[in-house]
Structures are given as C-alpha cells and as structure tokens.
Amino acid sequence: MILPGWILGGMKHAIRVRGLKKRYGEVQAVAGLDLDVAHGEVFAVLGPNGAGKSTTVEILEGYRERDEGEVTVLGRDPARPTREWRSRIGIVLQTADDRAELTVRETLRHFATCYANPRDPDELMEQVGLADSAGKRIRQLSGGQRRRVDVALGVIGRPELLFLDEPTTGFDPEARRQFWDLIAGLARDGTTIVLTTHYLEEAEALADRVAVVARGRVVAEGDPATLGGRGTAKARVAWSEGEIETDTPTAAVLELSRRYDGEIPGLTVTRPTLEDVYLRLIEAGEPLADGAPQTVGSAS
C-alpha cells in the first residue's frame, strides 16, 4: 500500500497521546497524560486501581470521550471511530462475563463475519488452546477458558493493535505462563500490544516498555529492566548477621567469605525488583526521569 508522506508521518506511532484529561464529577481520573506507543511494540501500563489506567485505555479504544488532549490511534481520533478503524483494532475487555448460550466455535464464527479478512476460527481455537472446548457453550467454560475466548475474539479480525485490559486476573500460574506464550507469539508476528496489568512479573515478561501511571499521569516510563534507575541501583548483600548496600557486591561477598572462612550464613544478593521500583514510584507520585540514580530502601 503506497501512502502519502503526511499520512506516514502521522503513523510513526501506533498511539500518540498528549495532555489527555478526563474528569468524573469531582474526580480527575486522567490529569494530563502523555504516551507514545510504537508500531510492533508491547507496551504495558502499570498502576494502582483508580490511577486512570482503564479510563485511558477505554478512551484509546473509542469507548469513552475525553475532556481534553490530543489522541491518535492508528492515525485516527478514537472519539470518531469508523468501522474500518474498528476492524484494525482488537479489544480484550477487563470484565466480560456474558453468559452466552452459544458454543465457542459458533461465537468465533459469528464474530468473524464482521471482518474483511478474519483468522480461521478452527485454527485460532487450536492456537489459544480451546480446540477441546470448541463445542462447549461459553456459559460452561472455566474462568481461564473464558479468558482464552476473550483473547481469541480480540484477535480474530487480525488486528494491527490489540488492547488487553488486565488479561490474566484470576489465572493460576500455569495458565498465566501459557497466556504469556500466546501474547509473545502475537507480538512476534508484529501485532502492537497495549496491556494493563497489576502483575509486575507479567509486565516484565511481556513488555518492551512500561509506563507507570499514578494519579492520572505517567510517573515513569521505559524498559522494565532499567525503570526508575533499576539497572544502575546498588545491590543489597544480606546475610544472617547484617546487610549492606554496595556498587561492588562481588567484592563484598568475597570479603564476607573470608570473614566466615567459607560459607556465608543466609547469604542473598539482590537488586531492586520491578515491584520495589513500582511501589516507590506510586508512593512518590512525582514524575521521575528514566535512568536517574536511585538509592534503595534499606528495609524490605
């Protein structure tokens, strides 16, 4: 497809948000939020309940109107969705408990009729691990199977951009791993994915970049490995009789080993986890530059 330059310019990012604001009565749910998501990227939005994550995502999906700000999703303003635009977007909602009397196969086939070039429902059921449940009614499925249906419905139209709103809430660890494999597969095929989640290990496993949202703003953004100065933070060396923070943990361990003449009792060496960084970020609530040096809290 050959496109004029001005369209390509606007399409550099799959999503571009500037100064987004949304208020519900007295509550400023989104208070001037900026966001860029590149094509083909897996982008995770982290934040506590009520931080404005879901409101933001629903504005991007075309479900909610904004009060202020510029928003472009796949080259269009989502407040004025068209069928063509909707056909390029896949949505997996946070809560979907429709108690349909249709079977899994019937549901996928039906949703496929809305798209120009849908995936094959039978192949898709195989890929998301629903092949054995194809003839079951949606109502009879377990929570994890339901979520697979949700994801299958989200991707059946071969979306360029997929929104996943807290996709694995309530999953057991094994189901969560399988789900991550599925999402990683979609990402490898070039689907741009925007994911909101409460699970930091999920963001770490899937996302190329994360944004931490608190009080309606992005307070930190970047690679999950280096977010909030995580990559350059001091390591904590702890053992049964004490702990230190140091830039040279190897030297510290060697020194301790000499002191104890071999094994160090109860030795652990840790760097701040994404969770440590995240908790500090949402408590501070102040915007932080990515990669800024940080001191690590002494208690854990």
Binding site: Y24, R86, S87, A100, E101, L102, Y115, L153, D181, D189
Partner: protein, 279 residues
Amino acid sequence: MTATPAPAPRTAAPLPSPIKIALARAAVETKVLFRERDAVVFTFALPIVFLVLFASIFSGVAEGTGVTVAQLYTAGLIGSGVMGTGFQNLGIGIAGDREDGTLKRLAGLPMPRPAYFIGKIISVLVMTVLQVAILLAIAVLFYGLELPSEVSAWATFAWVFVLGVSAAAVLGIAVSSLPRSGKSAAAVISLPFVVLQFVSGVFIPITELPDWLVNAASIFPLKWMCQGFRSVFLGDAGAALELTGSYELGRVALVLAAWLIGGLVLCVTTFRWKGRRDG
C-alpha cells in the same frame, strides 16, 4: 499455542455488507433465544395458560353477536403475546446484555450498530410467530375457535402483527435503557406491561372500563393491537362490541405506526451501550 500465522498484508478488502452482518445477528439471536429452554417453554405457555383459565372461568356467547369467549380471548392474548415477547422479554434481555458486557463487546466490533437491533427484531418476530401459531392451534382444537377464511382478514392480521411486533420491539429496545441494572429490569419493565394488559382489553373487555381508563389506554399501542386482532377473529359480528361500533382499522395503523417511529427515535437518541456503573 505459539505459532500464530503472520497477519496477512493489509489490503483494501471491503468490510462485509451491513445486511450480511444483520442477518448473522438475527441467526445468532434466534439461536440463543431458543436455547434458553425454560424461557421458551414459559413464553409459549403463558398465553395458553391464560386462554385455558379465561375459557374455564367465563363461558358462553356475547349477547346478540354470536361472539364466543374463545374468540375474544384469543384476539386479546395474541396482542398480549406480541407485547410480551417484543416489549417485556426483549427489554429485559437487552438490559441483561448491557449488564454483563455483551453490548460493550459488540460495540467494539466493526459492526454497523443497527445490525444489532435488526437482529433482535427478527428473532422476536420468529419467536412470536411460533407463539401465536401454538396459541391458535390450541384455541382451534380445544375451544372451537373458527379461523377466518377470507384473505382480507389474514391480510389485516399480517399488517397488524408485523406493525405490532415492530412497535413493541423498538419500545422494548428503548425501555431497556431505563432500569438502573440488569437485576432490576424485570421489575421495572413488567409493571407497565401488566397494567396495560388490564386496561387494553386483554383480560377485561374494554367496554367495562371507566372512560378515563379507556382514554389513558388509548394512548398506548396494546389497546390498538388487540382491536386489530379482534377484527380478524371476531369478524363483522363483533364490531358491535367495540366502543365506537367499529374496529377503526385506520386508526389502529396510525397509532401503531406512530409508536414505531417514536420508538425508533427513542432508540437512536437514548440507547446506552454500557451499564450505568460503567460510565
């Protein structure tokens, strides 16, 4: 679950036609309707139970006209059945779709939104045709109802039926936005329906109601639907039982069409795709 096929290159493949999607919606809605087996059984049974009750409580022939109780109640119960499936069942059903996220999910699809409504209306038509067929069969077999033989009577039946179902369905769609939640929908939507049945000539002949009630009932479509169906099943002899001595079919058409148009306007302007708690 890993090897997902690469997305096909974006071509300018046209989206499926709205008519195709609307028909797919109709097929799915009808299928779902009939799979809720208990609901189907009770929807079909309700007018039959009333017919059995009324034909047992009252009997005989209306003075000087030769109109039987079975004729009178068959006509009224068809009207009430149309209103029951179109207005009550549909309104409660859509309120449930809104509560559990079905509507929100559909709103995110590249589906022309009227396709949803057309699908609902067609499924209601199918359901109501069957309901009326069963009611008529019972009335003929057990209560000696004689079906009209003139083509003109069936033509009247057809237009009153289609206009009535359509008007009831768009009002059902419109009223579904009224309840605050899916749970309260049955209570909110059933009250006006039950009251209308009492004042529109379904349970009680309209000639026995005080004037002010008749005037109030005349605003609503059920009274006119029942009047139209009486013209089909009671024939010319029954016209003497009407308040004006005539079935006023022109007015029946006018009032039902007005409700259909008004209901459509309400649907377009007030329909909510999300629950109240969902903003």
